[in-house]
């Protein structure tokens, strides 16, 4: 009986623990259109995926800060990031940025690019389709 009681208690505690931690750490994926439409909750840590817009990449001369725009079929959102970019980061490349919206700018704390230039994360492929489901080229540089 004692053993059973201890087991139930232990498993119960573990499950409670897991579910609490779980709820706090779900990170949703949004496209640039969705974040600009205000779909993402303010201050929540989210992932945004898109194509780094041609000609949008600017490096701060004195620090590791970079600014660029992340585009999907319709719009592009401004992203700022301070740190070292992944090896395969370049304009025209699909990337995923993690962070939160700060006004109209997405403040990224982590940037991921895949290690195979032909590989695109499935959610990114999905978000680069227009309403008819055909793949689009992201908005051109302006």
């Amino acid at each position: 009986m004692l053993a059973v009681g201890a087991l139930v208690l232990g498993v119960g505690a573990a499950v409670a623990l897991a579910l609490t931690a779980f709820n706090q750490n779900l990170m949703y994926f949004y496209s640039p259109s969705e974040v600009l439409a205000g779909d993402a909750p303010e201050q929540a840590r989210i992932r945004v995926g898109g194509i780094v817009e041609d000609g949008s990449f600017v490096r701060d001369p004195n620090s590791l800060r970079v600014d660029f725009r992340l585009a999907d079929c319709d719009v592009a959102v401004a992203v700022t990031y301070t740190g070292i970019l992944p090896d395969l980061f370049r304009e025209g490349q699909g990337i995923i940025a993690m962070g939160n919206m700060d006004g109209d700018i997405f403040a990224a704390d982590e940037v991921l690019a895949k290690h195979d230039e032909n590989y695109m994360p499935p959610e990114l492929v999905e978000s680069l389709k227009d309403k008819q489901g055909t793949s689009c080229m992201p908005v051109a540089a302006t």
Partner: protein
């Protein structure tokens, strides 16, 4: 010609695997022993043909036969020989062939030692492994033929993914696969127990060394993967809770639980159906891992290009084996009679049961975090991912009681523990752990709580595991320790070292991304890093940009670090190669970012600096766990476990 022979050999191997599966099964069921005896020669034949196919593919890589599509896609005329050989398993098709080869090696090993098994058990074990072989060989031939020709032949190959051109990656996949595939042996023993209805001490003794061996390969494979990520990804991390890492970690957790529950089944004849269920689960999770990696449903560094047809095939294999074995389990597991009497919580078996509960819950927590995003997506709930904080938040509280249990269980006897023995045996290890923890907490300063806890737990595991060996060495012990006991102690010492490493690295690592001009110095944690510039140098099949960073402490330069950025012209992929200065209690780690002034190599660069205390302990601990497993698996009582009945409770040998 050679590739066609390889393909042909693969087809023959499939045929033999089919024979190896069906004929002995029929023989065992209808009690026709001459049919059952087909198992062994079929397994030997299957091994020969799979090995031939593997050799044929390796040959195609060595002679740079770019008329084979797989070779053209994953090799290059510039690629050094060592990596041409490891490129055989560098992508999907070849790694499947490696999977099949490993499986046939395990089958061969089982069939050689099967003479000591009762003939029906031996036949069913080999037949079940044959069924697994059939599934994977068919998968290889029908959806992922590595011998497919490319017409016309490519002038040159596309090259091996630069990430995989690393010594760690040569042995990481084979080790991991040996572990994954090795659990098919425990699985097959479980199926044999379900079919024959025999699950006794002798069964546990046959199963234990195989399970432990598979587990030790998996341990090495996972540790190597972690070591590789640390060196090659340039992020200074050793574990990322990446879905594919999780896919290898879940069978490890369940396999660890299985090793411990097998001990209870062997010594006390208890937890029989639970042990069988764990054996099925460990293999099911290995298959799930294969499915997750191969189907492309996961977003991960490991994910290969997506091909829905392959995903469906692996899912079918997974469903067949898991549903089939669980059905068998549902029909037959009720027949197992555990020995009379329940389990007292305060006994070795009671504490091992607790260990199993924690390990299983941990595996389920990882499973939840790994699969939940897939389910939500499949149900149209949007794309999401579960971050590392979840895994850390769940894992740490589950691991703490586990490590406490390791020490406690070492002093608690089977059937019923005695409080006096626990007190007399554990006060000294407890005191040592507590005093070292206090010292560590004082030294650590700001992170005193986490560091103190890690040292407390780690030293507790080490000191309690040392109790029996030390007593034996000092000649104070009445019983002689068997290899199983030595191996167990060593593995638990490894666990302690691992816990100390993980705790201190997680709490006390410091890092900084910096922008440095030539000659500039940056300080981090008492170390001074001076950037001396970057030079360009050719490599065998790449050009390298090699940075020079002087690391100094207290004005004394102790290391000249040379982090590299490699550019592979065949794929235009840059690769980061970090540089480390290693001492037993810390790593100083530098990786090269990128040139910041319009790509000018001689201008300012971004650099990533880390000081990682005790990180080597993570891999040292893992290695000791694996070594302990190897010593335990070689215990002579497993080799002696023959047809004759062995007493259920062996008082002379210690626990696992």
């Amino acid at each position: 010609m050679i590739p066609e022979l390889g393909h042909f050999a693969l087809c023959l191997a499939t045929g033999l695997a089919l024979v190896q599966w069906l004929v002995p099964t029929a023989g065992a069921v209808t009690r026709r022993w001459r049919w059952a005896a087909v198992a062994q020669p079929a397994a030997v034949g299957q091994f020969i043909f799979v090995a031939f196919a593997f050799a044929a593919l390796t040959y195609a890589f060595i002679v740079k036969d770019f008329s084979v599509a797989y070779v053209a896609a994953n090799s290059n005329s510039e690629l050094p020989l060592m990596y041409r050989i490891s490129a055989v398993w560098g992508a999907h098709e070849g790694s499947l062939l490696l999977w099949a080869l490993m499986l046939s090696v395990w089958t061969l090993a089982v069939s050689v030692s099967a003479r000591r098994l009762p003939s029906d058990v031996g036949a069913i074990v080999i037949a079940t492994m044959g069924a697994v072989s059939v599934a994977f060989l068919l998968f290889t031939i029908l959806t992922s033929n590595p011998f497919e020709r490319l017409i016309p032949a490519a002038a040159d190959g596309n090259d091996l993914n630069p990430l995989l051109q690393d010594p760690g990656l040569i042995i990481h996949p084979p080790m991991l696969y040996m572990g994954y595939v090795g659990f098919s042996v425990a699985f097959s023993f479980a199926i044999a127990a379900l079919i024959t209805g025999r699950l006794d001490t002798a069964w546990a003794r046959w199963t234990r060394p195989w399970t432990t061996t598979a587990w030790l390969f998996l341990t090495i494979g996972i540790a190597l993967g972690s070591w590789w990520a640390y060196n090659e990804l340039g992020w200074g991390g050793w574990w990322f809770w990446d879905p594919v890492e999780n896919a290898s970690f879940m069978p490890w957790l369940v396999g660890t639980a299985l090793i411990h529950s097998l001990a209870v089944t062997e010594k006390r004849g208890l937890l029989k159906s639970w042990t069988v269920l764990l054996a099925i689960s460990a293999f099911a999770l290995s298959l799930l891992g294969t499915f997750l990696v191969r189907s492309g449903v996961l977003v991960s560094v490991h994910a290969f290009a997506t091909d829905p047809q392959r995903g469906v095939f692996v899912l079918a294999i997974f469903t067949f084996f898991v549903a089939g074995s669980l059905l068998l389990y549902a029909l037959r597991a009720g027949k197992f009679q555990s020995s009379a009497g329940g389990i007292a919580l305060f006994s070795r078996e009671g504490l091992l049961l607790l260990n199993n509960v924690f390990l299983t819950v941990a595996a389920l927590a990882v499973l939840l975090g790994t699969l939940y995003p897939l389910f939500v997506d499949a149900l149209g709930g949007g794309k999401l991912s579960v971050g590392p904080p979840y895994f850390n938040a769940v894992f740490v509280p589950l691991t703490i009681p586990l490590v406490v249990l390791v020490g406690l269980a070492s002093a608690v006897s089977w059937k019923r523990g005695k409080m006096e023995r626990v007190r007399s045996q554990l006060w000294l290890p407890g005191a040592i752990a507590a005093s070292l923890a206090v010292v560590a907490a004082v030294v650590a300063g700001g992170q005193w709580m986490a560091v103190g806890l890690a040292v407390l737990l780690g030293v507790w595991a080490i000191a309690t595991a040392l109790y029996d060996p030390v007593k034996t060495v000092l000649g104070r012990s009445r019983v002689k320790l068997g290899r199983a006991a030595w191996g167990m102690s060593l593995a638990h010492i490894g666990l302690g070292i691992f816990v100390i490493g993980v705790g201190i690295v997680s709490a006390a690592s410091i890092e900084k991304d910096v922008r440095l001009n030539i000659g500039e110095t940056e300080s981090l944690g008492g170390y001074d890093f001076t950037f001396m510039g970057v030079r360009e140098a050719p490599g065998p099949n790449y050009t390298a940009r090699i940075g020079a960073v002087e690391a100094a402490r207290g004005g004394q330069t102790f290391a000249e670090l040379a982090p590299e950025k490699r550019l592979y012209p065949s794929q235009q992929n840059p690769m980061t190669e970090a540089s480390t200065h290693i001492l037993p209690w810390r790593d100083v780690y530098v990786s090269l970012g990128e040139p910041l002034e319009d790509g000018d190599v001689r201008g300012a660069w971004s650099l990533r600096l880390y000081v990682k205390p005790f990180i080597r302990w993570i891999w040292l601990g893992s290695f000791l766990m694996a070594l302990g497993g190897g010593i335990a698996a070689s215990d002579k009582r497993y080799r002696l476990a023959g047809r004759k009945a062995v007493p259920a409770l062996d008082n002379t040998a210690a626990a696992q």
